[in-house]
């Protein structure tokens, strides 16, 4: 008579038992009262990377020069080099990186959920991403801005001449917002044509669907170099916004954030000190105190950071310095360094020394 009841109650008991222990992964925040103390000592990402033996790096699905697979399936690009530098610093081997291609829609949730350790994906640093999404951007590795590509035949010399034009834009980018803001500020009108994928967007521009194409200037230069008749198109000299790109990490691991920051700084410092992947070996015997601190012969900075003493040496030896990374990835696309030069060369790359 009561046989029908037992399966139902067993099910209820089993369910209440397993729902109590809902899964929490490494990024679950501790109770608020202990948050301050826990933040300074917990290193979940770093521990995870050491345990796994590789760095999980979030990249684009294929943007030439920043992160794209080459003919042999190897990932190459400026952002890829940043991840390799981090791996060289933490694990001693720049090849110990696994790449997760992410679309613009997936990138932040992948980082927030712990699926990737670092997001190196031409992500512009904005207030909303820093504050509202809670993502930390320890360093900037590329300074860019929104620009426009137009046909030379239109005779347009400045953005202000584009009143009433049709402009191809990618949805969800900071370019979209920048163009809307700029045109509103200067009381100009435009008609947007939003096409999600870069290839289709540039295709529509070349087919004549729009008068101008708006993107970050480095992307425009790459698109122009690869498109038909590069000489028929010109990138306007107006830069209507600032777009600093940098790798992003979650804020619950301060040590990891510092490692990412100083890996990027090491690339730039190496160029400032004149160290390249070819000359770094001779630098081991240098008398220059700056170089000695950099390669780990003095100062003990590696142990302060929680990594090997020769972390910066490994970065330069296996990845190169900032200039080498640029020459390898962006120079072949015809992109100029512009303001991405060292401060003493007239650019804005000004990072603290290893001191």
């Amino acid at each position: 008579m009561t046989a029908y009841r037992s399966p139902v109650w067993c099910l209820a008991l089993a369910l209440s038992a397993c729902s109590g222990g809902a899964a929490t992964n490494q990024h679950a925040a501790p109770p608020p009262a202990q948050a301050q103390a826990a933040r300074s000592t917990a290193t979940p990402t770093l521990d995870g990377v050491r345990r796994k033996g590789f760095v999980q790096c979030g990249v684009t699905t294929g943007v030439a020069g920043f992160s794209a697979p080459d003919g042999q399936g190897q990932w190459r690009g400026m952002d890829v080099d940043v991840c390799r530098a981090i791996a060289a610093a933490v694990l001693g081997d720049a090849t110990k990186v696994r790449f997760t291609p992410l679309t613009a829609a997936q990138r932040f949730t992948a980082l927030q959920s712990g699926e990737i350790d670092v997001l190196s994906r031409i992500t512009t640093i904005t207030f909303q991403r820093d504050v509202q999404l809670g993502i930390e951007f320890p360093a900037t590795n590329w300074y860019d801005g929104t620009g426009f590509m137009v046909r030379k035949a239109l005779g347009v010399t400045s953005v202000k001449d584009l009143n009433g034009a049709t402009i191809c834009i990618q949805p969800g980018t900071t370019n979209e917002l920048d163009v809307a803001d700029y045109f509103r500020k200067h009381h100009l009108a435009f008609t947007p044509v939003v096409i999600e994928r870069l290839e289709e967007g540039t295709g529509a521009y070349y087919a004549g669907r729009c008068d101008a194409f708006s993107q970050d200037r480095s992307t425009l230069a790459a698109a122009r170099a690869r498109g038909p008749n590069p000489d028929d198109h010109v990138i306007l000299s107006d830069v209507i916004s600032k777009a600093p790109y940098g790798p992003g990490v979650m804020p619950d691991d301060l040590r990891w954030m510092e490692i990412v920051r100083w890996s990027v700084y090491a690339l730039i410092d190496a160029e400032e000190l004149g160290l390249t992947s070819a000359t770094i070996d001779q630098a081991l015997a240098s008398d220059d105190p700056d170089v000695q601190r950099f390669v780990g012969k003095a100062g003990g900075f590696g142990s302060m950071l929680g990594v090997d003493a020769d972390w910066a040496f490994k970065i330069v030896k296996q990845v190169g310095n900032y200039a080498e990374s640029f020459d390898r990835n962006l120079k072949p696309l015809g992109i100029e360094r512009g303001i991405n030069r060292l401060w003493k060369d007239g650019g804005v790359l000004y990072v603290p020394d290893l001191h």
């Binding site: 008579m1 029908y4 139902v8 099910l11 209820a12 369910l15 209440s16 729902s19 809902a22 929490t24 990024h27 679950a28 925040a29 613009a104 829609a105 997936q106 932040f108 949730t109 927030q112 959920s113 909303q128 991403r129 509202q132 999404l133 809670g134 584009l162 009143n163 009433g164 034009a165 049709t166 949805p171 969800g172 980018t173 979209e176 917002l177 163009v179 809307a180 803001d181 045109f183 509103r184 435009f190 008609t191 947007p192 044509v193 939003v194 096409i195 999600e196 289709e200 529509a204 087919a207 004549g208 669907r209 008068d211």
Partner: protein
């Protein structure tokens, strides 16, 4: 004292919890409660986890300024307006293409269906070829095909002048439109000024490609449904109508179609729902519909969960409205046909 007949007692015992209907009710309630509790617990834990990671933080982003421009729509909109208004504009665009698509697909589909049953060989073969091509190629490819056809149109500066102020170019079809000026209704013609046409109204190539692609593809499916419905009517009906001396057209209109309609309506409802959902492919060709705006919103705000939930709710509302209307129609007009069949 008269002998009163004893009322027949139910055979089951007196104890109330052994009553079979009550037992069934209790078991069902218990299962619903358990499943409901499980779902609620999962939902609560998920929302706590999401909030801790800053992944989902509520729907108040809908009240913030969107910051991006949208190219077309009947509703006035500027980048200062809220995300909610942008979504509203996307909804209007989706509804426009859905309703027009349904109308055109139905008209075209009925034609195709009847044409397939035509006794003229050329007509039926062309219809058959049409159906096979449309059904066997992916809709996305068809949309990209129609959109790339629009690129083949002449450049805006060499637009085709189709007289009376109608211009056709790769930026769209520009038509004269009525507008108020000096207290009178004028037909304003589009004029080429600066970079493009000003005045009048326009049909963008994105809208055109989406509409044509959706309508032609769905028409093939509806054509097959119509053909199946007509073939489902008993042959005897057609023969009897012929025996009565009714012409072919009268037979179709008064005998065959009323009986075929009940068979056709449920699958056609599915096809209408498909039009609504397939309109979301607009994001591939740059037409600003709900999914396109949602995509932009979630890229700008980073709040993927909320944005997708809102989009799903919108599509659910549209689909439920369509299926509700079709069910009412089914019970009404089509139902009369069913009664005729039953009699």
């Amino acid at each position: 004292m008269p002998a009163t007949a004893r009322v027949a007692r139910p055979p089951w015992p007196r104890r109330s919890w052994s009553h079979p209907r009550l037992r069934a009710l209790v078991v069902q309630l218990a299962v619903v409660a358990v499943v409901g509790a499980m779902v609620a617990l999962i939902a609560m834990q998920t929302s706590v986890n999401l909030r801790q990671r800053n992944i989902a933080s509520g729907f108040d982003y809908l009240g913030r300024a969107a910051g991006f421009e949208i190219s077309q729509g009947a509703v006035s909109y500027s980048s200062r307006d809220t995300y909610a208004r942008a979504l509203g504009l996307g909804l209007v665009n989706t509804l426009r293409v859905t309703l027009l698509g349904i109308a055109i697909a139905t008209a075209l589909g009925v034609t195709i269906g009847v044409a397939r049953l035509s006794s003229i060989w050329v007509v039926s073969t062309v219809a058959k070829a049409y159906v096979e091509i449309m059904r066997n190629t992916p809709l996305l490819l068809q949309l990209l095909f129609w959109y790339s056809l629009s690129h083949a149109l002449p450049d805006v500066r060499q637009a085709l002048d189709l007289s009376n102020g109608v211009f056709l170019c790769d930026r769209g079809l520009f038509l004269p439109a009525p507008s108020w000026r000096d207290g009178a209704l004028w037909l304003q013609r589009p004029e080429f000024v600066g970079f493009g046409f000003r005045g009048g109204t326009s049909v963008s190539p994105e809208f055109g490609a989406l509409l044509i692609g959706l309508a032609t593809c769905t028409a093939a499916y509806i054509g097959e449904i119509v053909r199946g419905g007509i073939l489902a009517v008993d042959r005897g009906q057609t023969e009897a109508a012929a025996a009565l001396g009714l012409s072919r057209r009268t037979t179709l209109r008064l005998v065959v179609l009323p009986q075929a309609l009940p068979v056709m309506v449920p699958p056609t409802t599915s096809q209408f729902l498909n039009v609504a959902k397939n309109s979301s492919l607009a994001v591939a060709i740059g037409y600003p519909d709900v999914i396109s705006i949602t995509n932009t919103t979630l890229n700008q705000t980073g709040q993927a969960i909320e944005a997708i939930t809102v989009a799903m709710a919108i599509y659910l509302a549209i689909s439920l409205t369509i299926s509700l209307s079709m069910n009412l129609y089914d019970r009404g007009i089509a139902g009369r046909g069913r009664e005729a069949l039953a009699r």
